[in-house]
Symmetry: C2
Subunit: 446 residues, 2 copies
């Protein structure tokens, strides 16, 4: 094999970057579990017809087929492109053994055969939280989902130094009730045009609404004004009311969105706004919709999106409405790692290297390492018998803070950063707590 | 969608089983890191020609191709079928940024398009540890690898109640040196026949050695006698010596194998034997070979295998010898879960459910939950305002031990197992340590 080349769109992390990713994933898991979400993993493949019927995404699916399959046999499996479709299938398949409402988190890789470009990956990790229930799902779960997601993202900010986030929330009932209150029937067509607001601007949207959807200029202006409203508290409600439109569905949407923004704002202050232009495309969402930008990295797109879906999972008899949010771990992390914003304090878990001065002393070094490991201190034995300087360089190159000398004879431990070397007992010595495991710290660009 | 059916060979765990799997994976990771192994994840796909040139395995590879690819275009990617081939590629691709000797662990899913049968999976999780180095790799790493692997498997036994293991070790240098010492030239041909010992018995092997390989009956008898030797200590060395064969390669193999068995036996007593019939097929191993059975589940096959490979990774200029072991997490765990040997004490992370007696009291319940979570106690708020009995049943169905009543008014917490209900303060109350997180315990069949 000559030196292999990277595959575009399939990012692979260095060991040091992987330490950062592991700490991110550990904290997401910790917060999800604090909120009582149970872990689920689904198989990587789904029947192609399950994946393909989601509409526009079908061109991005990777088909999977045994190399040994009869030539000409069509593939019947594909790699999942998100975790929502597999989760809907999992719920239907395993409904008889699940307890509802079912709260699950799922952290797995997904694959999309997209043309690779900045911020687009063909393989990436998603971390999803969803709650589903047969029949109906109470509206308070629309409040809880951003709470757990923002708590998780805030933990990444506070514990690991990732940038803070801003979650933008809207509710389709609000917009569709408003359009209905204006006397517009084809509310979905309006939503489709309003979704283009950021791309083409308000004038173009008004034009499209009047020419393509056929609403009056006054109606079109009102739709665009609605979409311009945003607030970090419940004051958006008064702004909407001031537009003079009334409709019961609008009321329902306003109440729910106000509850979401107020509750999440109370527990994770400053990280959520009601933003009435958010539409999240035209996929399966039916109520609340969420998207989230990383402050300072807005052009990377949403790092956490989701919403309420009332009919994604159905076996014909029972429908399972749900509400969920998905954190794009790769999309969040890889640009920060690439830009050197975050790094780990070392590239290995090891806190101590036990030096070996001659191969016949290796058993003593192994014994010291065993005693340190027994007390939870990650320890390596030096790979070769070598002189002082070479042992230090081995540790230094990896960022390992301590080297242990004289194993079993005249035990001493050196902090290679300060150069301090002190007598030590493998049965009692401990590194400072901050040196026990690698930490995530700001990088050169952080 | 009607109710979907399971895909044969793609096991999916229930939330409760997944808790067991997570605890298994956490402990493997903990031990690997205690020994200074760094985590690596490689992409799920490799170029098909990398996967296919491994010989006999090529029929089991899943090819991957975009659904939108031009019809008739041959697939050029496949899903990895193990973690060794991708790791060898990773080392070559990223060599310039790795520190050698490079110690990595890798826990990922792999895929094989095999005919599904008992104990065979199409998607399964492997946990690999390897050490590689350019040029040469000292023999003491052949000793360290079973040490870390046995420490990890022993932790699963002690902490989680999995059955103990027995690792069987051999060394190809020993066998090939012995054959050479007997005057046999084609040592690989002998190895190939001796590998059949367990399947066809000693008489048949002797017959094949004389008829197919062309060795004398005396030589054949000696080869079979060598393969019958095993010991949990270094006494196998004397047994081999007693066969009267001498060869420098034999000596090297004997010394190394004795060191492996003695060191691992000293640190993880009773879990390793030298077993001179172990051959591990004819794949890329060149020295020490390991395989591991789960005591009481021997017929499931090896749950942890590996060995020394001297030339798996090479870019034409530099060769990276390595030694590694792979734990088959799915093969280890799914039969135990299926047989009910292990279970989790509950199906969710939640320790406490905060009851809601009317929806207008939900904010108080949310506030209590937030205070408990802030101190690391996994907490859910009840999904609906309901009476006492219904709140208890919600918790009971999931195995959640505590229900919190009277949030913010007359706070009390009930242990639903004992029925004890006591006044509690959300700022200070803690569940007993053993109830904080789900634990893995023996199941009905355990």
């Amino acid at each position: 094999m000559s030196r292999p080349r990277a595959l575009s769109g399939f990012p692979e992390l260095s060991p040091e970057q992987r330490i950062v990713e592991q700490q991110v994933l550990d904290r997401l898991r910790e917060v999800f579990e604090l909120y009582g979400f149970a872990s689920v993993e689904t198989r990587a493949v789904e029947p192609l017809d399950t994946l393909a019927k989601q509409g526009e995404i079908d061109k991005e699916v990777y088909a999977v087929q045994r190399v040994a399959a009869e030539p000409g046999t069509p593939a019947d499996l594909g790699l999942h492109f998100d975790l929502t479709v597999p989760f809907a299938r999992y719920v239907l398949e395993h409904a008889h053994q699940l307890a509802f409402p079912f709260r699950r988190y799922q952290i797995q890789k997904v694959w999309r055969g997209e043309r690779p470009q900045e911020g687009r990956y063909r393989e990436f990790t998603q971390a999803d939280v969803d709650i589903v229930n047969p029949g109906t799902l109470p509206a308070h779960f629309d409040v809880e989902l951003p709470l757990v997601t923002l708590a998780a993202l805030e933990k990444l900010h506070v514990d690991l130094g990732l940038p803070p986030v801003l979650m933008r929330v809207n509710n389709r009932l609000l917009a569709q009730g408003f359009y209905r209150g204006l006397g517009i029937e084809d509310t979905v067509a309006v939503l489709r045009q309003v979704d283009k607001l950021d791309k083409i601007g308000p004038d173009k949207v008004v034009e499209l609404l009047t020419t393509d959807v056929g609403v009056t200029p006054a109606q079109a202006q009102a739709c665009v004004r609605l979409a311009s409203i945003s607030s970090a508290d419940a004051s958006f409600v008064d702004e909407v009311r001031a537009l003079g439109v009334t409709d019961p569905m609008l009321d329902e949407g306003l109440d729910l969105l106000a509850d979401v923004v107020q509750t999440a704002g109370a527990y994770v202050p400053g990280r959520i706004v009601a933003d009435l232009k958010i539409a999240r495309g035209l996929d399966y969402y039916t109520g609340t919709v969420y998207e989230t930008e990383l402050v300072g990295y807005e052009k990377s797109g949403s790092v956490s999106s989701g919403g309420r879906y009332d009919s994604l999972a159905s076996d014909g008899k029972t429908t399972y409405p749900g509400v969920g949010l998905s954190i794009g771990v790769t999309r969040l992390l890889v640009p920060l790692l690439g830009a050197g914003v975050l790094r780990a304090t070392r590239s290995v878990p090891t806190a101590v290297v036990v030096a070996v001065t001659s191969e016949d002393r290796r058993p003593s070094a192994t014994a010291v390492a065993a005693r340190l490991r027994a007390r939870g201190i990650p320890t390596e034995v030096a790979p070769e018998a070598a002189k002082f300087g070479r042992q230090i360089r081995y540790a230094d190159r990896r960022g390992i803070p301590f080297v242990w000398f004289g194993a079993g004879e005249a035990d001493e431990v050196k902090d290679i950063r300060s150069g301090d070397q002190v007598p030590a007992d493998a049965a009692t010595w401990e590194p400072p707590a901050e040196d026990l495991h690698p930490r995530v710290v700001p990088g050169e660009q952080g």
